[in-house]
Amino acid sequence: MPVTVSRLRIPPEQAVGPIDLLPTETLKGVYRMMFLIREFETVVNHLFLRGRVPGTIHLCRGQEATLVGTMVALDKEDRITLTHRGHGQALAKGVDPAGLLAELMGRAGGVCRGMGGSLHVGDWSVGALPAIAIVGASSPIATGLALAAKRQGTGRVTCNFFGDGTASKGELHEAMNLAAVWELPVVFLCENNVYAATTHISEYMKNEYVSERAAAYRMPGVSVYGNDPLAVYEAVKVAVDQARAGGGPSLVECLTYRRDGHKRDDPAAYRDDREVEAWLKTDPIPAFRNRLREESGVLQEELAAIEASVEDELIAAQGFAHQSPYPDVQQRLSYVYA
């Protein structure tokens, strides 16, 4: 004591999950969703730079494997809570890209009717609770969704997304303790992308892994490589199964990286070149694409068709969003009370 924590956080090696964990059709679906998220974010960035998306945006490019790997481990009926970096979480849970894009643009056709914007996307009808932008605040709420599932006997599991930076918030700790004590079906899912905004993880944590904190509440904690969807799926599945079986919560940490800056105008110049270089080589999308071709024998043409269908979907989504009107200004007085 004190422990010296390495400043350099590079991707763990040899950390992918076995390809035969999931049927090939599912794997193709995983690839499609990862690709959709990537392309969606690229469209958003483009529209933002052209002034068509007001406010601020936090892109999740680079973190797609974590999102999609997690979601495959969840059932359709399960719940997720989203973060400020929520576009990909929403898409992976099944939120419609057209409604999502319209929301970012403040349009009446948005999933939240234009009332929320990028920081608050979500569609409760598919189990994605509109996002909470105050970091840490969603963890108690997720725990409450889980409490309801337990009481109502619905068998639902709740997945609470949070970032490595958010691990410093007291709310998360209170929620983890509550979930542990009451054995609630919740998975605390940490997207560890090494930074809280501009600040490196070694500045706010002595631990090597966020998952070390699970033991403080006597719950399982595990860290996996977050840029391979199968590695993620494998770990999250264990946690989800345990939760669904009444075994209580877990903490799963996925080690990944932001390809972009923290938000709209951040060039991320504060990052160490070696770190950036090591991680940028691990882009989850080409990596998983290669695995599909090499390990599952998916054909180049099949992948191209998937990619083309995604592009079509996004063109349609943009059309919808651009044509959707702004809400009537009277709407600002709605939805205050039920």
Binding site: G116, A137, G144, L145, A338
Partner: protein, 351 residues
């Protein structure tokens, strides 16, 4: 805003016969009836299995089970957030904050989450949630003496209820539990007390409660005493001081109309305006510090809507703009008392 509706409300346990109850007993009855009528209602908070700080839940755990009367860890942030999540899924939590003051350690969950999630989601979710917040100064020093209503009066997206007697406490708590919104249920600490124990003030918080089921709607104030010369608006414990003051002034030939708004959000401002149009004079009494509270807003509304009816400067009594001191004589000097209300009324009347 939706008002609870007795006709569509679930049937409740009948208790029968008019009784004299304390506020605590009245609240306990309300909880018991609503829990019996509706499975989704449950209570949570620190130490509530054995009754909680003010014995509101005494005996409830035995009858309803510890699953519906849930002891929490000391994690206000955690369990308030948890209640929000449960409410989103359709449960109807009543959260006992022990002392309202502890809510500040979970303020974000109320201000940023509970009050805004529905709005930000474009109406996708609703959050039927009641927070029980004992409020005000009661001899324990500044950290246990905050006027909770003062901090949250300006917060959009919630309702605030402040009953001052057992009848209203029961009827309003039942309405709050049936409401689909976030309701702060705020009772002054000096109004709690069991029948056996001496109350802290001369005026009591004991009163008649019918045995038949009833609701008191949220948003409707009440003229407690009719009068001609001045309107006094007060709630919580200072309402009782105001009523005492009104009785004393009768002897001096001053006829005081006393209004209990009963709920602060929504506020029955029409009732106040009507009264002021009759009496042409207004005094507002609150326990919170003078720079805060609901009184200034009421004054601004009266000035906006009834400016030409007002014959004398509107008066207001509130606590000093300081924290609440511990030493009993200092605490008493810090908040509005019967004596000070009497003086204030005399001054408005005689100029």
């Amino acid at each position: 805003m939706s008002m609870p509706d007795l006709t569509t409300a679930p049937p409740a346990v009948r208790v029968g016969g008019n009784r004299t109850l304390t506020i605590v007993e009245a609240m306990r009855e309300a909880l018991r009836e609503e829990m019996a009528a509706e499975d989704r209602v449950f209570v949570m908070g620190e130490d509530i299995v054995v009754g909680g700080a003010f014995l509101v839940t005494l005996g409830l755990a035995e009858d309803m089970g510890v699953d519906r009367v849930l002891n929490t860890p000391i994690s206000e942030n955690g369990f308030l957030g948890l209640a929000i999540g449960a409410a989103i899924e359709g449960l109807r939590p009543v959260v006992d904050m022990q002392y309202g003051d502890f809510l500040f350690t979970a303020a974000d969950q109320l201000i940023q989450q509970a009050s805004k999630l529905r709005y930000m989601s474009g109406g996708q979710v609703k959050i039927p949630l009641v927070l029980q917040l004992p409020t005000g100064a009661s001899g324990r020093g500044a950290q246990h003496a905050n006027s909770m209503e003062s901090y949250f009066f300006g917060l959009p997206g919630i309702k605030i209820v402040t009953p001052s007697n057992p009848y209203d406490a029961k009827g309003l708590l039942k309405s709050s539990i049936r409401d689909d919104n976030v309701v702060l249920f705020i009772v002054h600490k000096h109004l709690y007390g069991s029948r056996g124990r001496a109350l802290q003030h001369e005026q009591t918080s004991v009163g008649e409660v019918p045995g038949e089921e009833y609701l008191v709607p949220i948003g409707v104030g009440k003229v407690i005493e009719e009068g001609q010369d001045i309107t006094v608006v007060a709630n919580n414990v200072v309402l009782h001081h105001a009523l005492n003051a009104a009785s004393r002034l009768e002897g001096e030939g001053i006829s005081v109309e006393v209004i209990d708004p009963r709920t602060l959000v929504p506020f029955d401002i029409d009732l106040v305006i009507e009264s002021v149009e009759k009496t042409n004079r207004l005094l507002i009494v609150e326990e919170n510090p003078a720079r805060g509270g609901w009184g200034p807003w009421v004054i601004s509304e009266v000035i906006r809507r009834a400016f030409y009816s007002i014959d004398a400067p509107i008066a207001r009594l509130a606590a000093n703009d300081t924290p609440i001191p511990f030493s009993p004589p200092l605490e008493r000097a810090s908040v509005p008392t019967e004596e000070r209300i009497v003086e204030a009324i005399r001054q408005v009347i005689h100029g």
